[in-house]
């Protein structure tokens, strides 16, 4: 059986691989959407935070022998804490200004972070081994899937759905959403809005850090790994609708699949296909697929 001229099995394999990459897009664009939705900050430092997550994991392993499973918890905490510091030191001065200021500030921060790591570790990258428990591969019949990649999809779906549930379905989430609608009013009800905003940015940063740890065993850990990805992730957010949480998750997974299939039909275009989709979506639905028209 063939689909679009390629064997059914190969097609299924590529679909699955697209989903794995989409899982990363989903997790990163989720963090961006949360930060944009609640803080109105276009967080260009997201790629650098992702890189920091991967580097923290690698440094912990290299220097202190901290294994993958602990790194999975510790590295996002480190990156989240850094996020809190960034918010307190810099971003809090920018609330109420044009979002452009936040964009420029976070872009500058990411250049600094990347530069520091490039100076220290070079660009060749560090090798982070796949954790023992997840090494090996499973034969699915149509392809051999490394166990680690299956784990990535599961982990990212759990994280994405958890975040969505927290924001859309819990009381805390209701406070957060209300705080962004009208901070003064929510504050008047006795909710500490600045604290909430600070923790939100920290949580968004931690999500990026977590994605970094998940990516470390798959690709070389390099200072440039974030900047290679961040532009695509921004396109994902724009396509999904700025600030839409569920939208960014679904779009992330969907675009991963679209990109994966492009790698089969016309590999040369695989690095631009996301932007082609972005252009089409912006023409037809300027607010994005899941965004509300202003």
């Amino acid at each position: 059986m063939e689909i679009f001229g390629i064997p059914h099995q190969a097609f299924m394999g590529q679909l699955l691989l697209g989903l794995v990459n989409g899982a990363f897009y989903a997790m990163l664009s989720l963090g961006l959407a949360v930060i944009f939705g609640l803080l109105d900050i276009v967080n260009f430092a997201h790629g650098a935070l992702y890189m920091l997550g991967a580097f923290s994991a690698w440094i912990m392993l290299d220097k202190w022998g901290v294994n993958y499973w602990f790194a999975l918890i510790l590295a996002p905490l480190v990156v989240g804490a850094l996020g809190v510091i960034i918010e307190r030191l810099f971003l809090k001065h920018l609330y109420g200004l044009d979002p452009l200021y936040g964009l420029l500030l976070t872009f500058g921060l990411s250049l600094i972070l990347e530069g520091v790591f490039r100076e220290q570790y070079g660009v060749s990258g560090q090798n982070y081994p796949v954790p023992e428990l997840l090494s090996g591969a499973t034969n699915l019949g149509f392809m051999v899937l490394p166990n680690y990649r299956a784990w990535v999809v599961v982990a990212s779906l759990v994280v994405c759905l958890g975040t969505w549930f927290l924001i859309e379905r819990t009381r805390l989430g209701a406070y957060l959403r209300a705080g962004t609608e009208n901070a003064k009013l929510v504050q008047a009800f006795g909710v500490n809005v600045p604290l909430m905003v600070m923790l939100t940015y920290g949580a968004g940063a931690a999500l990026a850090g977590l994605a970094g740890v998940l990516a470390a065993p798959i690709i070389q850990v390099t200072p440039l790994m974030g900047s290679n990805l961040i532009i695509v992730v921004f396109a994902v957010v724009v396509i999904g609708g700025m600030g839409s949480i569920l939208g960014s998750v679904i779009t992330g997974l969907g675009l991963g699949v679209v990109e994966g299939l492009t790698r089969v039909f016309y590999p040369e275009a695989s690095s631009v296909v996301v932007f082609v989709v972005m252009v089409i979506v912006l023409i037809l639905r300027p607010a994005g697929l899941f965004g509300k028209e202003a």
Partner: protein
């Protein structure tokens, strides 16, 4: 009013630089344009620029009584950035010689500028053999290696060992095409076949999809016609997906930095072609030791060549007593190079003909000291490694 001031300022600025460009008594300026910050920055990059400065210092810091000044710039792997920087230096800084770093697209673009402005252009990091074939120029010297040599040295050995059926994973730009094409020619000339190829964008984020396509081709050997971060990520994914169990993998351009970053356990047994290895002889080891003290890593073949090429150029300038491009080019083509990096001669097409090596990566147990990574499988004489006079497509070669 504002516009007037601006125009006036521009006129003054242009006038001043125009006058400056006429002088030939100021410093002798050597330019170096390479990837300083992206995926090729470790194999060449800032350390490569430092090697050029070392060569200038070791030469005495002066030539023809004029101080030597080294300018460096990052081309970000963009051909237009590279060529406009080269043009700017040649027009405004009175640049005497340009060293071209990694990435073939940028080197091809800079070669055109250097040829137009008549300045010696020594290519180190870029690999496309077009530089001394279809796009050859009287002012280009291709110093270190090229795609033909990589294909001949690594390809010949692999095909002769029985790996007849090839599939390529190719970086989608000038260098990748050259390497794939040259390697395909070698495979076919030795009675092998090429089943197909898949092209990936430069700096690709994920290789699993491309590798799966390669695997379904059922070819015996997967040739990686890419370099730097693309090579390491492809190797890593190949191991993860078990591609290396069903196909043999050949890296067509591998630098010692790549082997270091992947680790010996991921690269053991890999055969690769290179122009130089630090642990070859005493002079090379001495150079490597000095490099290691500053950078805490060993130099790549490109960084050694950056040093050597600058020395070769400065010796030629001293010998002819001028920075005149035609005189210096003639001298370099007459005397060639003779130092720890290589003993080579430079042909009329600009190709430096020198020995190339086929190395094999040691296993973790065989490696006794840090960075002790290669054992030499074969030393291939230059006239067998590079494009022969008969094969050359360069109009400067008299057949």
């Amino acid at each position: 009013m504002k516009l007037k001031t601006l125009v006036a300022a521009l006129a003054v600025g242009l006038g001043a630089t125009g006058a400056f460009a006429q002088t030939s008594t100021g410093p002798v300026k050597i330019g170096f344009i390479t990837d300083m910050s992206s995926l090729y920055a470790d194999i060449d990059g800032p350390a490569g620029g430092e090697m050029i400065k070392w060569a200038a210092q070791d030469f005495g810091g002066k030539v023809l009584g004029r101080p030597i000044e080294v300018l460096t710039a990052d081309h970000q792997n963009k051909a237009d950035v590279a060529s406009s920087k080269a043009r700017e230096w040649m027009d405004k800084e009175n640049l005497s010689m340009l060293v071209g770093g990694t990435s073939s697209g940028t080197a091809l673009a800079m070669a055109k500028v250097a040829s137009e402005k008549k300045r010696p252009f020594i290519v180190i990091g870029a690999g496309s053999a077009r530089l001394t074939n279809e796009d050859c120029s009287p002012y280009t010297v291709h110093y270190a290696y090229d795609t033909v040599a990589l294909a001949k040295v690594a390809g010949n050995a692999l095909v002769k060992a029985g790996n007849k059926n090839w599939y390529f994973l190719t970086a989608d730009y000038a260098f990748g095409y050259s390497l794939e094409g040259d390697a395909s020619n070698v495979v076919k000339a030795n009675g092998g076949t090429v089943t197909g190829a898949v092209r990936h964008p430069l700096n690709a984020s994920d290789f699993s999809s491309f590798l799966l396509q390669a695997q379904s081709s059922k070819a015996q050997i997967l040739g990686l016609a890419n370099a730097g971060g693309d090579f390491t990520n492809a190797m890593k994914a190949a191991k993860e997906f078990g591609i290396n169990k069903t196909m043999k993998i050949a890296g067509l351009l591998v630098f010692i930095n790549d082997v270091h970053s992947l680790g010996l356990s991921n690269t053991e047994g890999l055969q690769l072609a290179d122009s130089w290895y630090w642990n070859q002889d005493d002079a090379s080891r001495a150079f490597a030791k000095r490099f290691f003290e500053k950078y805490k890593r060993m130099p790549s073949s490109l960084q050694a060549a950056d040093y050597s090429a600058t020395m070769t150029y400065l010796k030629a300038v001293k010998a002819v007593g001028s920075t005149d491009a035609d005189k210096v080019m003639a001298e370099m083509k007459k005397t060639g190079a003779n130092d720890f990096y290589s003993k080579g001669k430079i042909r009329a097409d600009g190709r430096m003909i020198h020995d190339m090596y086929l190395f094999q990566v040691k296993g973790p147990k065989e490696s006794s000291t840090p960075w002790d990574y290669y054992k030499t499988v074969a030393k291939v004489p230059g006239d067998q490694a590079f494009t022969t006079v008969a094969e050359s497509k360069c109009s400067l070669i008299k057949k």
